[in-house]
């Protein structure tokens, strides 16, 4: 069995053309992850560029209104570029530069990861190309322009379902054709080893901060930690530090779209089967012949047919739980958080907010729920308006 396993999950199921590059990447990462110069440069970028640490906000009105557990929001939406994605992009782009690469490429769904990658490339002086499903470039035209303003070239992917998984396919194809000067900044805790571990490590700053902030602000650990999951990078970053704390429930909230029994969802944990795709063994939405299923969510960032292998392991080993949240529920949480706390969060994050709304009233006032608010919702305003049938005259 190859490297990078989480139980039976993970591995390196990737064309031979990319294997040596993955081995080089793993070696470079193993070296730099304990290199004091690299870590200091990343720490400085986090603090002085991305705006870390992100605050741990006590949502007092929401807590009172729901009448149960105290609710805290880990405000990754306040990072530079508006989501947790910047943590991983700064880490990988810095690594790519140390490896002597001059060009980075990345996939993006809604555009959050593409914007963060383009930002890191601009900052560090690397050329950048982003691959985005054609359908997503149309739904998120503003983010396409944002990436272009940052100096990136955006390629609309018109193969397959023209969404996130096809963008990943096309970025892998591009990388296989040009590894000598190019690094693929994979955006989630997925893909072949070493990506799931490396992306988790760059994102684990979220949980490290969250754990110490809660200990400082509350003097104790939370009872439950919630995060939305598509590929699962903000969730893995939030969960990782809490894994040894056996009493802290870890709950991932996945996109149930129109409902897990409608066939229009991206609920990999609820409906997927074990398979091998995009370089990893994990759970995937697929048919009985092993064809990857077209998936659906109102939230483009969760619109992915698989999930990172470490999540699959955490679920099967019983350490973490995964629950489905529908479009309708996520939209209601989006509106609720805006009106109750004055925070417009990403539709992705709203999936986790909704589950907290479901849980909190059943819990005691001495209990704590910490939600990773992975991104801000400016990008989703038009989608929400469309969903509500409001004409914005854009």
């Amino acid at each position: 069995m190859g490297k990078g396993r989480f139980g039976v999950f993970g591995g390196q199921y990737i064309p031979e053309t990319l294997m040596n590059e993955l081995i080089n990447l793993e070696k470079a990462y193993e070296f730099y992850k304990t290199d004091s110069g690299f870590l200091e440069e990343l720490r400085a970028l986090f603090a002085e560029y991305a705006g870390r640490p992100s605050i741990m906000y006590f949502a007092e009105k929401m807590t009172k209104d729901l009448g149960g557990a105290k609710i805290y929001l880990k405000r990754e939406d306040l990072n530079h570029t508006g989501s947790h994605k910047i943590n991983n992009c700064l880490g990988q782009t810095l690594l790519a530069k140390r490896m002597g690469k001059t060009r980075i490429i990345a996939e993006t769904g809604a555009g959050q990861h593409g914007v963060a990658t383009a930002t890191a490339a601009a900052l560090m002086g690397l050329s950048c190309e982003i691959f985005m499903g054609k359908e997503d470039t149309e739904r998120q035209a503003l983010n396409v322009y944002r990436m272009e303003l940052l100096g990136a070239k955006v390629n609309a992917v018109s193969s397959g379902t023209m969404t996130l998984k096809d963008a990943v396919n096309e970025t892998m194809r591009e990388w296989a054709g040009r590894v000598h000067d190019t690094h693929y900044v994979l955006g989630s805790v997925m893909g072949p080893h070493p990506f799931p571990s490396m992306v988790r490590d760059f994102q684990s700053i979220i949980g490290r901060e969250a754990r110490s902030q809660l200990l400082e602000q509350e003097g104790k650990l939370p009872n439950a930690v919630l995060a939305c999951v598509g590929g699962g990078s903000n969730a893995m970053g939030m969960f990782h530090e809490f894994i040894p704390d056996a009493d802290v429930r870890l709950i991932g909230c996945e996109a149930a779209g129109l409902g897990v029994d409608t066939g229009k969802h991206a609920a990999t944990m609820a409906k997927g089967e074990i398979g091998v795709f995009h370089g990893m063994k994990s759970y995937f939405c697929q048919d009985e012949n092993g064809q990857i299923a077209p998936v659906y969510s109102i939230s483009a960032g969760l619109d992915y047919p698989g999930i990172g292998p470490e999540h699959a392991y955490l679920r099967d080993s019983g350490r973490a739980e995964y629950v489905p949240v529908t479009d309708e529920e996520a939209v209601s949480a989006f509106e609720y958080l805006a009106r109750t706390e004055g925070i417009i969060c990403a539709l992705e994050s709203a999936h986790a907010v909704y589950h907290a709304m479901r849980m909190a009233p059943e819990m005691g006032a001495d209990e704590i729920i910490a939600i990773c608010l992975s991104g801000r919702g400016d990008k989703d305003v038009a989608a929400i308006a469309r969903y509500k049938g409001v004409n914005l005259h854009e």
Binding site: G2, M19, R173, A176, F277, H278, Q286, G290
Partner: protein, 258 residues
């Protein structure tokens, strides 16, 4: 002698690829007959997959057409059974790992053995991950064919020394598709592979014209052509049979001179 060995027994082998079920299973059967008539030595049938990450546009689109026509692994096993009733030509499947995993390694290889599939090429199964598959396939006498890429370098020794069937050398970086020029130093890769391998060595990716095919045949034991044939199927659809025959014949003639 195994059927795959037969393909390389009398001179340079011509390995022809076609996507199974594009535009229909029946037409694939006809195209394969034409390829055999044109002189192909080994048939490679692609099991269509929703997300073929190692393929260029031509084969990606063929995969989409085949899936839309309802092609499944089960139907392709049926196709191989039909071909076996009329020919002993070596047949390998090209498939991504997920369809094999989903059906189950044991059941998949059992069906391969029963239908007469001689080997599998799995582009997303590198050497490091082969054990889980080979531990099952070996019991059914089905070869798992390994790939070597221009970037393989120090990996060639372990890949080639444990290779089964034949070694598939990928001529170029990137994905499948017709290329006007192959820049890789194939000669040194082929000789490196041959120094460790006990099985024949074939080269694929990008080969299109008879002159490209013959220059590859001069250094390798076999020439693999995929996109150029699939492109004919795309262009002429159900009427592609005769065109495929003519093309295959021209390549076979070029290779035979080597």
């Amino acid at each position: 002698m195994s059927r795959i060995k037969n393909a390389f027994a009398s001179g340079k082998a011509f390995i022809g690829f076609i996507t199974g079920g594009d535009p229909s299973i029946g037409k694939t059967h006809e195209f394969i007959r034409q390829m055999i008539r044109g002189g192909v030595d080994l048939i490679e049938i692609g099991i269509p997959f929703s997300d073929p990450v190692a393929e260029g546009t031509v084969i990606q689109e063929a995969n989409q057409r085949a899936l839309a026509s309802g092609a499944t692994p089960k139907k392709l096993f049926g196709l191989v059974e039909e071909i076996r009733a009329e020919s002993e030509i070596p047949i390998v499947f090209l498939t991504y790992l997920n369809p094999v995993y989903r059906i189950g390694y044991g059941e998949f290889f059992d069906r391969c053995a029963k239908a007469g599939v001689d080997g599998l090429i799995i582009p997303d199964l590198p050497f490091e991950e082969q054990v889980e598959v080979k531990s099952v396939s070996s019991g059914f006498g089905v070869d798992v064919i390994s790939l070597v890429a221009p970037t393989s370098e120090g990996r060639i020794k372990k890949i080639a020394s444990e290779a089964e069937g034949f070694v598939y050398i990928v001529s170029s970086m990137g994905v499948t598709g017709i290329r006007s020029e192959i820049k890789t130093d194939l000669k040194s890769i082929v000789s490196s592979v041959k120094s460790y391998s006990t099985v024949p060595v074939a080269v694929g990716f990008g080969i299109n014209t008879p002159s490209q095919a013959s220059s590859v045949a001069e250094i390798a034991d076999g020439v693999i052509i995929g996109s150029a044939i699939v492109k004919i199927a795309a262009e002429y659809g159900g009427d592609a049979g005769e065109h495929i025959y003519e093309y295959v014949k021209s390549i076979k003639a070029a290779i035979s001179l080597c």
